[in-house]
């Protein structure tokens, strides 16, 4: 049930339409740690209203389509506070690359190295993107909110950095070249 709660959390910042939620939050930031498309957002809003966690008022939009502006009810605010202070289940890991490696005993080292290199490029791109966002974060908020956003972004940067370090370790053992030493952080991948 994280999507409805995520939306509660965003509506707590300000009252919004489904369109606003998607454009201002899911397309920009939420998608990096909880993606949802338009259809999911509108259906989640319906469910929030059913639970009486949110309500909406219709604003006739002159030339534009009518806007359904959603805001939290008292129940919704209580539910949000409860959810925000209750530990959630850990995310399940589901990584196709690990499945591929697990089953790759019959694949040539060269092919494995190519697979790793291609994956590396995508993780590097992700990390670069996170760093670009990090550079402009301070212009988008301040105070505790900024602190929290930096923390969340920091998780992504840490995650991708460590994935890249692991990929480099893996690449070193499947490509002909010996592992260049000193350039990368050493990681503990062998039995202690």
């Amino acid at each position: 049930m994280s999507l409805p709660h995520a939306i509660l959390g965003l509506l707590n910042y300000r009252a919004m339409t489904g369109y606003d939620l998607k454009r201002d939050w899911f397309d920009r930031s939420m998608r990096f740690f909880w993606p949802a498309d338009q259809a999911q957002i509108y259906r989640a809003l319906e469910r929030l209203v059913e639970h009486d966690w949110a309500s909406f008022t219709v604003e006739a939009g002159g030339d534009r389509p009518n806007r359904k502006v959603y805001s939290l009810t008292a129940d919704g605010r209580a539910e949000l506070t409860h959810w925000l202070t209750t530990p959630a289940a850990l995310p399940t890991v589901r990584d196709p690359l690990l499945v591929q490696l697990f089953c790759a005993a019959d694949i040539a080292d060269d092919d494995i190295a190519r697979l790793l290199a291609a994956t590396r490029a995508e993780h590097q791109a992700r990390l670069d993107n996170y760093r670009r966002i990090q550079a402009q974060l301070p212009t988008l908020g301040s105070g505790k909110r900024l602190q929290l956003w930096q923390l969340v972004l920091g998780n992504g940067i840490e995650r991708e950095s460590s994935y890249l370090a692991w990929l480099d370790h893996a690449l070193a053992s499947f490509s002909g070249d010996p592992e260049p030493n000193g350039s990368r952080p050493t990681i503990a991948l062998t039995t202690p």
Copy 2:
């Protein structure tokens, strides 16, 4: 479509029933990077047969229920090789804790610290479990297969270690105590 391919990869090791797949692979190792329950496995096997990537023979099981023993067809072997050498889409990140932190501006630091500490305990347990498995891995395989399994497990260990480092950083900024220095690896969570 990773689950059918994962099963192709396992059937490539040896011909098996759905029950074997679950008991010997999904319950033990696959679940750490591609979980699937019994219903999903049996339905995936049906799909493999439809695609003509696998076929089965029925073994009358005397006292036990009949066994449908699945093995790869030539097409299935070709499909597996192709999949194993083709880069897959990166896993989507969907982490409830990050949603909670992103929306936690109105929550007291103490409550945030409690949330982080509870999550920390679960990630620590995961890491401990990975390390236990790592210690006994060499008894379960050898050669290239062992090398690959160590690599996959190393990914989990690296992932959880780095998540813990990030959590410690986060905890330090939300609990009263100043961050004890020197005990933890420094991570780059501030703008360069």
